[in-house]
């Protein structure tokens, strides 16, 4: 009973486990719900879904399952490699071109045609107006424009026009990075904790009490010490706007995780690359800026600096004075980055772009060199390595010791 529903939910990306499913059966057995479909829907949701973010997925599976409809897409045996669909560029069509895009008739016909195309097509395709790929005007594929298009493997609509979303779980690569929840980030950031005692005395100091009591001829003399607190200081510098739009979500989560995890936490924004000034409130970036010089003066070298940015831009924006896309910068970005890294010795650069793309983007390679290879992908594994890096630099003696061991006397 309902086992297929359970399996469908799991296939549909709702993280349901067996005990939860059993408790639904138990609730049905206890007649919690009457025999109406709506009651059953609410009951099933209460038992099986534990996060409001999954409500939508649940709704979709529920609707599909209980309509008794055959799954529309099971018929397609062909799997579409997600490489085809990776968005390298979104072609922006002119109004005129948009007007010329003709919709292909009804939904059924669209699906029928899609099936044929999938069978016919043999390789990755981009642009054009017939094959499935990215950035084209064919009704099939991602990041393109066609008023009646079918989206394949693209979360979040670009033009918000697709008639139906077809998200196959095979394209899970993208989703896997999304699964990186705030909690995971926090667990990752936890490694960075270093404890120190500060604040009001509120914890019993056992050793101190014993010795004080002994001195006090056996009469109790309580000693208190301040509680241990997270003493790591973190400065988060975030790239916003432009190419970072695609990564807003994951950066948001990192930000909220970091903010609650550290007592000393400051954040600043920059656009593409840090120049002579940064800002704190994105809405007032034009009026309220803080000079990078001042930042360096204000926060001591004991702050750990985490840069977050995709470092994807024209290399001139890094190397040349006046290269910034936003304003005239008197000194090149590379100079400012070097000033920052010289002052803050503990720093890492987290890059939300997938690692495979790093080598193909000159500006990433350049930035990576500038940050002394301390660039890590913004994934759990990357975050782990980044915090390990920050910690290692934190506990080790000054770098002068490493590698400059004096030769043993002859």
């Amino acid at each position: 009973m309902l086992v297929r529903f359970f399996l469908d939910l799991r296939a549909g990306g709702v993280p349901v486990t067996l005990p939860e499913f059993l408790s639904l059966l138990e609730a049905l057995d206890a007649r919690v719900a009457s025999l109406s479909a709506e009651d059953f829907y609410h009951l099933a949701r209460v038992c099986l879904v534990k996060d409001e973010r999954h409500y939508d997925r649940f709704d979709r599976v529920f609707a599909e399952h209980f309509k008794g409809a055959e799954k529309l897409f099971e018929a397609f045996g062909v799997s579409v490699p997600d490489e085809w669909l990776r968005a390298l560029a979104e072609r922006v069509l002119t109004e005129e071109e948009k007007a010329r895009v003709k919709a292909l008739g009804g939904w059924d016909k669209l699906m029928e045609t899609l099936r044929q195309r999938l069978a016919e097509q043999q390789e990755r395709h981009e642009g054009g107006s017939k094959w499935i790929g990215t950035g084209g005007t064919s009704p099939f594929g991602a990041f393109g424009y066609n008023p009646e298009g079918v989206r394949i493997g693209q979360p979040g609509s670009r033009h918000r026009r697709a008639v139906k979303v077809w998200e196959r779980r095979e394209f899970a690569n993208f989703d896997d990075t999304l699964e990186l929840g705030t909690r995971n980030f926090k667990m990752g950031l936890r490694r960075l904790r270093r404890f120190a005692r500060e604040g009001a005395a509120e914890e019993l100091d056992l050793d101190g009490t014993i010795s004080a009591t002994a001195r006090n001829a056996g009469y109790l003399d309580l000693k208190l010490v301040p509680e241990r607190r997270n003493a790591v200081k973190v400065l988060l510098l975030l790239d916003v706007g432009g190419s970072m739009d695609d990564h807003v979500r994951v950066c948001d989560e990192l930000f909220s995780a970091a903010r609650t995890e550290f007592r000393h936490f400051e954040h600043f924004y920059f656009h593409n690359f840090p120049y002579e000034s940064l800002w704190k409130d994105n809405r007032r970036r034009q009026t309220e800026r803080i000079a990078t010089d001042q930042l360096i003066r204000t926060y001591g070298p004991d702050y750990r600096v985490i840069f977050v940015g995709d470092a994807t831009m024209s290399p001139y924006e890094i190397t040349m004075a006046g290269g910034s896309v936003e304003h005239w910068n008197a000194e090149a970005g590379v100079v400012w980055l070097q000033r920052l890294t010289a002052h803050f010795r503990h720093f890492v650069w987290l890059n939300p772009e997938p690692v495979e793309r790093w080598d193909h983007t000159p500006s990433i390679a350049l930035t990576r060199e500038l940050v002394e290879e301390r660039m890590y992908p913004l994934t759990l594994a990357g975050l782990d390595r980044a915090t390990a890096e920050l910690r290692r630099r934190g506990t080790a003696a000054p770098p002068a010791v490493a590698g400059t061991n004096p030769l043993p006397p002859p």
């Binding site: 408790s23 609730a27 919690v32 009651d39 609410h42 209460v46 534990k50 929840g181």
Partner: protein, 283 residues
């Protein structure tokens, strides 16, 4: 005969989904995790369940320094030490120094109680993990007295969260979950009706319109919620603001009267002023 089903009270409007979630949790004696925007009545729910089903209510409010152990029991070693120096007789029984926590109190209740664990997301990130066995089996072990405390009746546990921290999966698996959606216009009218029955129709309609208009301003840090609306309506009534002041072209272009009850930080106020200013200029 005590009522066994929950369907809201005369002071508390519960949607059918919420009632279903509560009844499922009560019937199967599982903890119910309630999330939702601040001010949608999460904490109040536990009080209303206790009132409807006529059960005692135990409240455990979580702070950032709360430890799971505090909910079970604490061993007051310091007063025992002091007593021993003063030569008190009761010092020989360690049980005298075990201070019961909220969970223990709830476990000992002679009728099935309601236990509210309020704002669990405020606590340390490991807090929910430390309560897994207690919530699952409804029992725990007191090491000092070698005693197993078992619940006489599995309490009805209501847990609220504001989503400040994510809760671990193992914890979530043991709970039922309901997300209180922000009420739509119709439910909102019923809620205000319940709280201010004598309210003039006109004023209510205008107040609600202004309220929902304000909620739609994009980028607000803290959208005004039900409890803020109720406060605001109370103020409107107390100040005897006529419905006309909330209506008309001007009302759409300026801040509503007594807006301090609705907007809780200055950034939001600036933002709304800005939006109003722009729409005035566009006219």
């Amino acid at each position: 005969m005590k009522p066994t089903r929950f369907s809201g009270t005369e002071r508390y409007i519960a949607t059918p989904e919420l009632a279903m979630a509560v009844n499922a949790a009560v019937t199967l004696a599982r903890p119910l995790l309630i999330k939702g925007e601040p001010g949608t009545g999460k904490t109040q729910l536990a009080e209303e369940i206790a009132a409807t089903l006529q059960r005692p209510l135990h409240e455990w409010h979580i702070k950032s320094t709360s430890k799971a152990q505090q909910g079970l029991y604490e061993y007051d070693a310091v007063s025992r030490l002091r007593d021993s120096q003063l030569g008190e007789g009761r010092v020989h029984d360690i049980a005298n120094y075990i201070v019961k926590g909220k969970l223990w109190e709830a476990f000992q209740s002679d009728v099935q109680p309601v236990l509210l664990i309020d704002e669990i997301d405020k606590a340390d990130i490991e807090f929910p993990n430390d309560l897994l066995r207690e919530l699952d089996r409804m029992e725990f072990y007191v090491y000092e007295t070698r005693e197993l405390v078992k619940a006489k009746h599995r309490p009805i546990i209501v847990i609220t969260s504001n989503n400040e921290k994510e809760l671990p999966d193992a914890f979530l698996r043991r709970c039922f979950f309901h997300y209180i959606r922000f009420p739509d216009g119709e439910t909102m009218r019923r809620i205000v009706d319940v709280h201010y029955p004598g309210l003039k129709r006109e004023l209510l309609a205008e107040a609600l319109a202004a309220f929902f208009r304000l909620r739609e301003v994009p980028g607000l840090r803290k959208k005004p919620s039900t409890s803020e609306l109720l406060d605001w309506v109370k103020l409107l009534v107390a100040e005897d603001i006529p419905p006309e002041a909330l209506r008309g072209d001007d009302a759409k272009k300026t801040l509503p009267p007594l807006y301090g009850a609705l907007l809780k930080n200055e950034q939001d106020m600036h933002l709304v002023e800005q939006v109003m200013f722009l729409s005035r200029r566009a006219r």
